[in-house]
Every structure is written in structure tokens, then in C-alpha cells.
Symmetry: C2
Amino acid sequence: VLTVKAIEGLPEVRPGDDLSALIAAAAGPVRDDDVLAIAHKIVSKAEGRIRRLADVRPQPRAIELAGQLDKVLRATRGVLICVTHHGFVCANAGVDASNVPGEDTVVLLPQDPDASARYLRARLKDLLGVSPAILITDSFGRAWRHGQVDVAIGCAGLQPSDDWRGRTDTTGRVLKATWIASADELAAAADLARTKDGALPLILIRGAGRHVTRHDGPGAGALIRPEAQDLFR
Amino acid sequence: VLTVKAIEGLPEVRPGDDLSALIAAAAGPVRDDDVLAIAHKIVSKAEGRIRRLADVRPQPRAIELAGQLDKVLRATRGVLICVTHHGFVCANAGVDASNVPGEDTVVLLPQDPDASARYLRARLKDLLGVSPAILITDSFGRAWRHGQVDVAIGCAGLQPSDDWRGRTDTTGRVLKATWIASADELAAAADLARTKDGALPLILIRGAGRHVTRHDGPGAGALIRPEAQDLFR
């Protein structure tokens, strides 16, 4: 049985805050085989990845945007579908204005979300003596379906996918294509325990221990399809 | 708290089986605000959507395939990315050979998965006196990310998405883009309670009652992005 529970009581996160200490104080009892799913926004805020658009003149802003974006794939109806420096394909390069205090203030994606996840995991080990998996999530749109689902943009201590190719099904047939993006499914499950007013960035998932690993592992970057294998770019 | 639990004890489903009776016998206590997530394969099997490739000569097979596929978007490395008659964009038009007894036997997608979901919901109401939401799922790949995640291909009694556009976030700012594909997130959550050898097609999700509706609703077809709005076709 999988259980997915929002953790309440986390304060508004500000640049420079020790996010791991805030999580340790709020989380209650956590186990080594738990997954802590964290909306990227509080990671970005703690890391100071906030910009006030009013503070930047067009040219520096353009330069900053250019640094964020490797490429704009499509531009339509006020939305840019971008490839970020991480390799994510998402709307507006993941720059988001919701749930950010201050007018004209936006939050960027963490610079290196897998590194952020590894850092948080190590700090939680120091603070709590346990090493739950850390999963950093964001809401991404999809090419052919309406709406967004949360996906994994960073993780540590989590097998990002579950590759059944070469294993056999119940009839003994070898599976040729079954390769589950389990970290993305965990991100989606976590989002169901939230309300989108954004007050619940921290989610505890219990019962997914078969995806949790002792080592930090390759991170969510391993889920990015390389451009050379991309049929829709 | 959301809980996601695999239901054991469902027999191998065969064409003509009364799937609702099999589910009613296996499911145990079910509530009106539960979601029953069902891997499409057992729905397709019950509906007789099975084909033995050895039984069809090339020409009828080609004709049948042509009926299945509105369009082939991409063809590469032995995979066709197709638009099905439902409007789904997925690999090999959703035709799948895993977990199907008999060599050279494949399972097609249900003809009308939203209708299948409505039918199962009505039958369960007759058999059990409760109307849980019914969610029929399949594993789809994604354009820019490795691996597959389960998505909603049919549903009844479930709000397929949760549209926050026009509502306000915690800072009072109006949300412009937040539109959650909740049925897809539920499908992904359900898949986490399975193992991919395919033995656990039936999953009970409890705690997602805010997405469950009394009426059957628009179905998962509402999640398909119309071709006219598609930037990546």
C-alpha cells in the first residue's frame, strides 16, 4: 500500500533559509525508505533563485533569459516552449510567477535540481539520522494532452526509472518496451495530495521503498531524452 | 491522505467475461468516493479486443491497422508513433503483446474507453450499490522524457482535470496556467502500486474524493489536445 500525505506547518521559505532544517522540523517521523517530494519552488526560493522583473532592465533580462534557455522550440499564445539549460522541455523555461510574494517577482528553476536533492538528502541525514529519498518536482505540460502533471526534475536516493525490458511478463514473454518513469509517477502521486493554491509544497510518500536506493543514484537528469533521440523537436 | 492499494485475486480475464462481476467479487468494500483504476488490458480482453496475428493475412491486417490508426506521426527503430481513432498519440497505436496468453496474440485498446468506464460504473452500482469512480489506464511514452507513465484513457465519475485558472494562489495572485490533469496523476499513482509483470491490473485509490463526481462527466477524452492546438504534430 502506498500512502501520500501532505506535511503541514512549513513556513514561507525565503532566500538563504536552511530548507533542510525547516523540513526536518516539519516532517515528523521519517524513514529511510520514505520519499520526500518537494515542490521545486521552495528549493528555488531557499537558493535565491528569485528575480524581480522590475529590477532588471530589458537588456540584462534578455541576457539572463538567454542564459536560461538553450532554445525556444515553439512560441504561441504568450507561451514559449523552451529547452532549459538542464535539458527540460517545458513552458516558459520553468519560470513561474505563482505563489511568489511580491509583485512582478518570479521564481526560476533550481540551477541543478539533482545537486539540490543530493544536498538536502545529506543535510537531512545529519539532522535526522535518516536518509529518505528526495524528489524535487515541477508541473510540466505535455505535447498531446491538456493540463499539467508533476514530474521529477531532481532526485537523490531514488531510482528514477524502473526498466523491465528483458524481464518476463506473467506469460513468460520477454518485455520489450516496458520502462516505467517511476520518479515521474511518484511526482504525480505527490501532487494529488496538494491543493494548487501552493500552500503544501512538502509531501511524504510511504510504501514506495522498492524505488528508494541507498546511494544517491543518477538523479532525474537520467529521465531527459537526449536531443539525438528526440522525434518531436 | 491518499492511499493506493492493489487488489489481488482477480482471475485471468477472457473475452466475454463479465468484468464488473469479477471486479465486484475481488474488490472488497468500496466507497462512493473511491477511485477504481483498471489497467486497460483487462477491459480490452473482456471486450474481446484481442487479435491473433497468425490468423490474419497481411491484407486484412493492414486494413485493420489502417482502421486503428488515423495517422502515423513518426516511424523509427521499430516503433510507430500513431494517432489512434480516439485521438491518443502513443506508440504502436496502443497495440500491446505483453501479458496476453497465446503466441502472436495482441491486445488492442478498448474501442471507446470512456463508454467502457461508464458501463463498468453502472454495473458496479447494480452489483455493489456504490458508484466509485472508474479510471481506465494505459502506459504512454512522452515526447521529451524517457520511460512511460500511466495516463487516463477512459473514466467515469471522475473530473478528468482540475482547472485552477482564474483562481488565486496564497499571495492573492490570479493563476493563469495552472490546470492539473488530475486523472493522469491518478493513473500514475495507481501504477506505482503495480508490478509490471502485469499481475495486478486493479487498483483502489482512496482519499481522492475531491476529484470524484456523482455524474459520469466528460470522460478522459476531455484530456486529448485537439490537433488544431497541437504544436508538436
